[in-house]
């Protein structure tokens, strides 16, 4: 199981992450899970931020309600922009303040986000039109 | 130049490092995982191989007594051979040659 998990509210996210960076923690990754609760037909999401120092792990858990905009931690840890763009693509959750924003075209072309709907039963494909990738915004000051 | 000359001379007289394929074929090792080879007589049509196959390339029908295998979907993992309770599956000893044509 995961130990050393701290649950935080969305307002405290940047402050906590900056605190961990000041303590010398390294950003490992961010996991996003769609929680299967019947909250008025919309799904909530569970964000877990993983950090590492001296081979020991520490986690932050954040519950994101459907439709919320999450502040990006790429202003604290620059390398987080890649994983946050991936979550934008796959889950359709918008982030605010991304260092480089691919606007949903990092992995996929424009279309519905795969993990935000129910899984497609096997045998049925999703035909997405082959739109050429749009250029991302140029990097802002990290 | 003095470092290179012995190497060049050695390379001139030593045999080729490559094999003259397809005239010379290196035989596969004993434990090679080839295609699953099925023995219809010992098969009990339990369907365990089809259940466990990760790429869903096997179909077993008890009623009609058929065992179908899609070689293009197979990933050569060997799970069907391992889990067969009656031992009617084994690995082919040679790999399949590339398919060509039409």
């Amino acid at each position: 199981m995961l130990d050393r998990v701290t649950s935080i509210p969305m307002e405290g996210l940047i402050r906590e992450v900056a605190g961990l960076k000041a303590n010398g923690y390294r950003f490992v990754t961010l996991s996003c899970i769609a929680l299967d609760e019947n909250n008025g037909d919309k799904k909530n999401f569970d964000f877990i931020y993983h950090f590492d120092k001296d081979l020991g792990l520490s986690h932050l858990r954040l519950t994101v309600p459907a439709g919320a905009i999450v502040p990006s931690i790429s202003r604290v840890y620059f390398s987080a922009f890649l994983v946050e763009n991936e979550i934008q693509d796959l889950f359709g959750i918008p982030f605010e303040g991304l260092a480089i924003d691919y606007r949903g075209t990092l992995f996929l072309d424009k279309g519905p986000a795969p993990f935000s709907q129910d899984p497609v039963p096997s045998g049925q494909g999703q035909d997405k039109p082959g739109a050429p990738g749009t250029a991302p915004d140029s990097p802002k000051e990290g | 130049m003095f470092k290179m000359t012995p190497i060049v001379l050695k390379n001139l007289v030593s045999p080729a490092a490559t094999r003259r394929y397809p005239a010379e074929i290196r035989p596969e090792f004993e434990n090679f995982k080839g295609k699953p080879v099925h023995d219809l007589d010992t098969c009990t049509f339990c369907g365990i191989c089809a259940l466990k196959c990760p790429s869903q390339c096997l179909e077993v029908d008890k009623k009609s007594g058929t065992w179908t295998f899609d070689p293009f979907a197979c990933v050569y993992c060997g799970i069907c051979v391992e889990s067969c309770p009656s031992g009617s599956l084994s690995h082919a000893p040679r790999h399949s040659s590339p398919v060509s044509g039409g």
Partner: protein
């Protein structure tokens, strides 16, 4: 005058399908913007269609070069969630196969780095040495590249005593050959000119960017996840290989020395391997959430697994080391010439199929 040169996804010296938009002023790079998405297969979404046993085969195919280690990480996660104890012999066999994978991956990488510099004969020599390792794979596990030997609870195939001795003799030949090739890589004038001082990452920036693996160790941080002492690494003796320069040549040296470290680890494991069964009985289904980390040839591999007691897992999240090393490119490349791009890109050992899954 600024121009934008698109580099990739298909390029004669580029081994991986990544697209880089290089903003150039004359021949010097000013900015880099990477673009991915050319090999995205959506493997994480397959958890809803394959049960947790079949997922091992899916996870093995995230990357061909380090497939056994992906499967090992996944099996470790499931085993910890279900409380399964892996028998000792299986733990040693996993170490042997994962270190063989590490040697084969580093040799492959060495060849590709030489090819990106245009040094094709070195490329062919290293890949010839690598053939010996692939022969070992085929003789013991049955497949050359994607060795499907992991299962929840242990290993599917055993290696006999005579095979273990044969592996030792083959590794002695590999070691001798790599030692012969070593001076070309480390001291050759042209290789040094093209790699020294390129793509320097200072130690603090490496830690802050969250780099992983040899890219991090070449900047002076001694972090090797095998020190977590998983599998049989708790009985084996080794130290992380580090260098301090942080440039592409330092990363070469780290990987070169790691080949010898892996050969030494396999020899230790073959001597110490105990006799026991190779597979534990698996009953039931996993429940809970867990994060597992192992050391892949490219760095730190992280698996987050969440299960709810059913046949299918609820969520599988894979973070591969190239995912962590890619943002470093945005800092490594500016200021260099256009011709340095393939060398610097290869020096972080990219594996885009891992990154995009």
């Amino acid at each position: 005058m600024r121009t934008i040169i698109p580099f990739g996804p298909q390029h004669p010296v580029l081994a991986e399908p990544i697209h880089l938009k290089l903003v150039m002023e004359d021949e010097k790079i000013q900015e880099v913007v990477p673009a991915l998405g050319f090999v995205h297969r959506g493997l994480e979404a397959l958890v809803s269609q394959r049960d947790f046993h079949q997922m091992i085969q899916v996870v093995e195919r995230v990357c061909g070069i380090c497939s056994m280690i992906h499967a090992m990480c996944f099996c470790q996660g499931i085993e910890r969630l279900m409380g399964i104890e892996v028998p000792p012999r299986a733990r040693y066999l996993r170490v042997i196969w994962s270190e063989l994978e590490r040697i084969h991956s580093h040799l492959l990488w060495l060849g590709l780095l030489a090819d990106s510099m245009g040094f094709e004969s070195l490329f062919m020599q290293t890949w010839q040495v690598r053939e010996k390792i692939l022969d070992i794979h085929e003789a013991t596990a049955g497949n050359r590249i994607i060795v499907s030997v992991n299962t929840v609870g242990g290993i599917r195939r055993d290696i006999s005593r005579s095979s273990l001795d044969w592996i030792l003799s083959q590794l002695a030949e590999v070691k001798a050959r790599v030692k012969e090739i070593g001076p070309t890589l480390l001291e050759d004038y042209t290789v040094k000119k093209r790699t020294t001082g390129k793509g320097v990452v200072p130690r603090d920036q490496a830690w802050e960017l969250g780099l992983a693996g040899p890219t991090l160790r070449a900047s002076g941080v001694a972090q090797d996840l095998r020190m977590l002492r998983y599998e049989a690494f708790s009985d084996l003796d080794f130290e992380p290989v580090t260098e301090t320069d942080g440039d592409a040549h330092a990363r070469c040296r780290v990987r070169y020395r790691e080949i010898f470290q892996s050969i030494d680890l396999i020899c230790q494991a073959i001597v110490k391997i105990p006799d026991s069964e190779i597979r534990a009985k698996v009953k039931g289904r996993p429940e809970g959430e867990i994060l597992v980390r192992v050391e892949q040839p490219r760095g730190e591999l992280v698996y987050y697994i969440k299960a709810d007691g059913g046949k299918h897992l609820e969520r599988l999240r894979i973070r591969t080391p190239t995912f962590a090393n890619l943002p470093a490119l945005l800092f490594m490349l500016p200021g260099h010439w256009l011709s340095d791009v393939p060398v610097i890109l290869m020096s972080i050992d990219p594996c885009i199929s891992c990154t995009e899954r």
